[in-house]
């Protein structure tokens, strides 16, 4: 007879606080509804969602962020995603492009095509969207310090396809403040960078009216280790900064505010995330109406994209990541997201394989079409717990926003390292909780396995870099270099003065000036930025 198994009693693992450290009660009751409004979804302050019927009218956009290797490879992946039922595109650029370097710059060594697609010139942008009609597909571009350049290339690529700019529908991330705060892909100092953001915003408002020129992003703040409250507060305060700069430019708030959009993380703590999205809408509606005097209802409605939390994915037992992602995605949908990226199970290893990205897309399709969740707007509205948590998060975020106001706004706050050190503290605390076992991560510090299953991962062709370098060499030989030099000089002059830089930048791009050349011209005028590291 075999020895009986030692069966462990199921331990109590329930936490007494949220992932971000907000205290939790054992249960909630009618007394917690005091702060909840009586409004329906689609009514001010839109805590319950920006549309009356939410997903009955239109499902969220399923938009998987992707880009790698070369423009040709990336174009193939985009056609594949569209053929599988994806409804929007989202371009991931490689690090050289994000930092304003061409593929043949020494700093680009080893980085070309690794984290995204290299776009060194209009030629690359044309290739990425080859046979993809830009008037019909909405395209999101995740790029910030070099965003104006990429955007000009996109506008020029649309011209080449014969698509009028008035039909272009999409989003440029163009959120430089969170780069200084969290993701650290900055080129120029904060003030000239803010001027470029505002140039894009102004030009889009006047010439590309359906396009979202800024996506104010908390995603990267959260991935850098912030709490949910910090993510919300810093993001909304960044939004306030962009509005102030646009108003100072002379734009009318209701002319541009309806095109501002947001981007949030969908992390592990299910109810905390839902409450975060609800609080975000409520705070923004009040800020726009009361602080900025917006009158157009569309200016008051916070629209957002969400992405499941990359930092929550584990290297160990990677198939568990499918489950994590599904729960996070469900929170985003219950929180009323307008578009969603679900991470692939292999993202702790590499960029996603085609199989992994397909499962991630199917996860969204299952939530959309099988779960029944999208049928009713804000189904958790009126929940004692969710309403109280929404209120708690709102209050905590408002407190941060007031502190940053007192510092003189987000730029002085960044310059003295305030958000950076708040995030560094939170991320260290998070890691220590994990190390102590206070926070359970299945497969990492509990329920571990000796043997890991090997995973098929996407290998980036190391020859991509060489191909891009050769392509650039041919381009530089073929184009009218006198025209390029002149266009770049005109851009320097515009940058040194007060004029909007976009028309000059468009001319550079049309002359096939490269990303590196354009950013170099702006570096000549603006200088570059070095942060003081906050540990």
């Amino acid at each position: 007879m075999s020895k009986p198994l030692a069966v462990q009693a199921s331990p109590s693992l329930a936490s007494t606080q949220t992932l971000s450290g907000l205290p939790l009660e054992e249960s909630y009751g009618p007394e917690h509804l005091a702060s909840a409004g009586a409004e329906r979804p689609g009514e001010f302050p839109y805590t319950r969602g920006i549309h009356r019927s939410m997903y009955r009218g239109k499902l969220w956009t399923m938009r998987q962020f992707s880009g790698f290797s070369t423009p040709e490879e990336t174009n193939r992946r985009y056609r594949y995603l569209l053929s599988q039922g994806q409804t929007g595109l989202s371009v991931a650029f490689d690090l050289p492009t994000l930092m304003g370097y061409d593929a043949d710059h020494p700093a680009s060594l080893g980085e070309v095509g690794k984290c995204g697609v290299p776009i060194s010139s209009l030629e690359d942008m044309e290739t990425v969207f080859d046979a993809i009609p830009l008037g019909d597909v909405s395209v999101s571009m995740t790029i910030n310090s070099s965003a104006p350049v990429a955007w000009c290339m996109y506008l020029a690529a649309a011209e080449k396809q014969g698509v009028p700019w008035a039909r272009l529908n999409g989003t440029l991330q163009n959120d430089i403040l969170k780069e200084y705060i969290a993701q650290k892909e900055y080129i120029y100092p904060p003030r000239p960078s803010m001027r470029l953001v505002t140039d894009v915003l102004e030009y889009a408002t006047r010439h590309v009216p359906k396009y979202n020129p800024v996506s104010i992003s908390g995603y990267h703040i959260r991935e850098a280790g912030s709490t949910a409250v910090q993510e919300l507060a810093f993001t909304l305060r960044d939004g306030i900064e962009y509005v102030e700069w646009a108003l100072a430019r002379g734009l009318d708030v209701d002319d541009f505010a309806p095109r501002l959009s947001f981007f949030f993380n969908a992390h592990n703590d299910f109810f905390e995330e839902i409450a975060k999205y609800r609080a975000a809408r409520k705070i923004w509606a009040h800020v726009m109406r009361e602080r900025f005097g917006a009158k157009d209802e569309r200016s008051l409605k916070l629209r957002f994209h969400s992405q499941t939390a990359g930092c929550s994915l584990t290297w160990q037992q990677p198939y568990n990541n499918i489950v994590r992602t599904a729960i996070q995605a469900l929170a985003a949908v219950l929180g009323g997201t307008q578009s969603l990226h679900t991470n692939s199970l292999d993202e702790a290893y590499a960029l996603p394989s085609e199989q992994a990205v397909t499962i991630a897309l199917r996860t969204q399709q299952i939530i959309a079409h099988e779960s029944g969740v999208p049928s009713v707007a804000d189904p958790l509205g009126g929940s004692y717990f969710v309403e109280e948590l929404t209120h708690k998060i709102e209050q905590a975020a408002l407190d941060y926003i007031r502190r940053i106001d007192d510092m003189g706004g987000m730029i002085p706050a960044i310059e003295c390292g305030f958000p950076q050190s708040e995030i560094a503290d939170a991320s260290y605390r998070y890691q220590q909780e994990q190390e102590r076992g206070d926070r359970v991560t299945v497969g990492v510090n509990r329920f571990t396995e000796q043997q890991e299953q090997p995973l098929e991962i996407l290998q980036i062709d190391e020859s991509a870099e060489q191909k891009q370098v050769e392509k650039l060499t041919r381009l530089r030989a073929r184009r009218d270099n006198a025209c390029v030099t002149e266009a770049l000089q005109t851009l320097r002059t515009a940058a040194a003065g007060d004029a909007n830089t976009i028309p000059a930048m468009l001319d550079c791009v049309r002359a096939y000036a490269t990303t590196g050349e354009i950013c170099e011209a702006l570096r000549d005028v603006f200088g570059s930025w070095q942060e003081t590291s906050v540990l």
């Binding site: 370097y101 060594l109 080893g110 993701q183 991935e223």
Partner: protein, 145 residues
């Protein structure tokens, strides 16, 4: 790097392990590097953090000036195969092969094996614990008697 760090060099009587935490390449994702730097400091080590966007030359020069026993580089961009061998070459050129080079980040298994063959002391992949990193450094650094 502050000038204070250079002027206040520790003496050979100071037994604290000196570590340079470095972020090479264009990648700005510094959460891991910062958490590791704090954890090593809390474990009693002397930690110098380079900040972002260091070339292999800058990293090896800083390691030389700061007289560290360990260099920890954090790479999440996939550029490790181009960057790490260059750091190893420079360490050999400058006769600094006694400095332990450890790498952390999203490094696939096959690359981790190759980097170790080339001379990297350890590769810590996602999910490695702070304790493992601290223990590895403590047990691998040869302390003066």
């Amino acid at each position: 790097m502050s000038s204070n760090a250079v002027y206040n060099k520790t003496t050979s009587m100071d037994k604290r392990i000196r570590v340079l935490v470095a972020k090479p390449g264009l990648d700005g994702h510094d959460r891991g590097a910062k958490v590791i730097a704090r954890a090593l400091r809390d474990a009693g080590m002397e930690v110098i953090y380079t900040g972002l966007r260091q070339t292999p030359e800058m990293i090896v020069n800083a390691a030389l000036q700061e007289d560290v026993q360990v260099i920890g580089v954090s790479i999440l961009s996939g550029a490790h195969n181009a960057i790490v061998p260059r750091v190893l070459d420079l360490l050999r050129e400058k006769d600094m092969t006694d400095v332990l080079l450890i790498v952390g980040g999203t490094i696939p298994d096959t690359d981790a094996v190759r980097l170790k063959q080339q001379g990297v002391a350890a590769v810590f992949q996602p999910g490695a614990s702070l304790e493992q990193v601290i223990e590895f450094i403590r047990s691998s650094v040869k302390q003066p008697a």
